[in-house]
Symmetry: C2
Subunit: 195 residues, 2 copies
């Protein structure tokens, strides 16, 4: 079904000037003027602009995933997640993933490859989050936490991670994305359906 | 493995005062003072505070999902998504989902139930997104778009939706979350593994 398409479909708005309205360590907020191609007046929209992010599905030889538990200021609560972080300017997403995994958890792997990339929120946020798989992950290095990081590192059997998601105990949206894209790979390793 | 736990685990920071630094139609940005329990000085963290959101996995009798394609200001590009929107004060998430589905696409279903809820970003954002399944969805009502909404409505076989995700053509993080939590239900309907 296609209730509207072609000339009747959604139009590409024309981007005008942008003004910064807030600048934080993690993201900027910009006010951007957009004009609909069939209307005269521009309208302001607010866009959250962080650098690109990565997160990491790190699989151990025992078929467990490396998880981190930390206090999260956004929700004023603890959160159980896979490791992740911000991409430095010019850094390759897979390299960021390997670096963040090592710094946050001390784990290093034998193979690292891109599962895919998502937009955390196309409506109001400009960046992407790259989802990376690291295989043969083993404890290998000392921890090197960023300021204000205080992290409990644990590993959990992969199927138990999916069960924790279904039970609502792992709730970070970008973690679920990585687990969705990791599922076909896990099904191959495991030799059966995942979820 | 538990490299740090108990008294050595991550501490709960103590929330102090908050100040609004930006207010938009879709979200506020607040500066919140937090103090680590073992440190004297407080530190500011920035929190994006939108109302809770919903999105909707709407399954038609022909086993297709209802999708919407629209121009998204955050990424300055078109995006193919499942329907969704903001919860009004006091509104039940399932009711919001049914309302948004009807307003954005004209579809209405026979059963609506909660797949789960996620945090779009625990690190920097306070709200939740509730993921709702609507079954037996059929065209039933006139469209009722919000101002600035201009939406192409289409349906797509469920397996093709998962294939589009794997191919990187559906990239909205919260859409992937809904599809991950919908997967076990779809496997039951379909009688086989999904992904």
């Amino acid at each position: 079904m296609n209730s509207s398409g072609g000339d009747h479909g959604p139009k590409r708005w024309i981007r005008g000037g942008a003004q910064n309205v807030a600048r934080t360590r993690i993201f900027d907020v910009n006010r951007v003027a957009y004009r609909h191609p069939l209307r005269a007046d521009a309208k302001d929209f607010y866009v959250i602009a962080p650098p690109d992010w990565v997160n990491v599905v790190a699989l151990t030889p025992a078929r467990e995933l490396v998880l981190v538990r930390q206090f999260r200021f956004g929700i004023d609560e603890f959160s159980l997640e896979i490791p992740g972080g911000m991409i430095e300017p010019g850094e390759d997403p897979v390299a960021t993933a390997v670096r963040e995994l090592r710094e946050e958890t001390g784990f290093a792997g034998a193979r690292a490859w891109l599962l895919g990339a998502v937009h955390p929120n196309p409506a109001i946020q400009s960046n992407r989050c790259h989802l990376v798989c690291v295989e043969e992950a083993r404890p290998a290095a000392a921890l090197d936490w960023d300021e204000d990081e205080e992290i409990e590192v644990r590993t959990m059997p992969v199927d138990e991670v999916y069960a924790q998601v279904r039970a609502g105990r792992i709730t970070h949206a970008l973690v679920l994305d990585a687990l969705l894209l990791f599922a076909p790979h896990w099904a191959k390793i495991k030799g059966g359906p995942v979820i």
